[in-house]
């Protein structure tokens, strides 16, 4: 038994993936939904104060409501209006993706729908629906 460890081929070692390797990965649709879920979640977490600010100025009074509107036309501080719109568009995508991917999660948890085909199809539906709705709302936001 003792000599088996000496003659054995060295087993492959998988270190952590390096950032530069990630860009060359080709993820399946379900993988894209998964990483998109994470990115959109972190994005919304970081922009949460902005969302609460929008909630505040849009609701507090009619005067503050005008400031809310002005942020999108005249801008906010040194940030131009188009930039606020762009950030909002990012938030819209993040919310839609996170929402639809979340429903997919809940559905799979509840029904144990874990076939390969359902995973692929529902991932494609998630990506398609969130991007389409983002485009529609983005059009309303910018034009």
């Amino acid at each position: 038994m003792a000599d088996t460890t000496a003659t054995r081929k060295p087993r492959p070692v998988y270190r952590n993936i390096h950032v530069t390797q990630i860009v060359s990965y080709r993820l399946p649709p379900a993988g894209m939904v998964s990483i998109g879920h994470r990115i959109s979640g972190v994005l919304m977490f970081l922009l949460l104060p902005f969302v609460v600010w929008l909630f505040d100025v849009s609701l507090t009074s009619e005067i503050s409501y005008e400031r809310f509107g002005a942020a999108y036309s005249a801008g906010l501080g040194f940030l131009p209006g188009w930039f606020i719109k762009l950030v909002t568009l990012g938030l819209i995508w993040a919310y839609l993706h996170h929402f639809i991917a979340g429903l997919r999660h809940l559905w799979m948890d509840a029904t144990h729908a874990v076939t390969k085909e359902f995973g692929r199809l529902s991932a494609l539906v998630t990506l398609g629906a969130s991007l389409l709705l983002t485009a529609v709302l983005g059009f309303k936001l910018f034009f």
């Binding site: 994470r38 979640g41 972190v42 919304m44 977490f45 949460l48 104060p49 609460v52 909630f55 505040d56 849009s58 609701l59 507090t60 009619e62 409501y65 929402f99 979340g102 429903l103 999660h105 809940l106 948890d109």
Partner: protein, 121 residues
Amino acid sequence: MADPNFGSKRLVVGAHYGLRDWLSQRVTAALMAIFTLALVVQVLFGAKLGYERWAQIFSPQWMRVLTFVTIVSLAVHAWVGMRDVWMDYVKPVGVRLALQVFTIAWLVGCLGWAVQVLWRL
């Protein structure tokens, strides 16, 4: 025995908050989805959206309670999610702890602000 700790009931490892976190993330997600639905329906099938209409949507007590539930749910949901993210990508314990403390402060701060906006209306 009242609390068996053998056979299939034997507790081997862990702090056993995994299921609790998993479940609370799903429950809070469902609550926030209900709020989203309530808001979208009122925006789509109501008067033309302006300050009047927007403030009117948040004036009934049931909508305020639902919004409050959503704010608290969001804090819990985002805490579980961000904690997962830090645990996956940040290995040094000190940095991870600092980020977790930042996450809690960030979320509690936003929660307080949002609740203030909601209940002073």
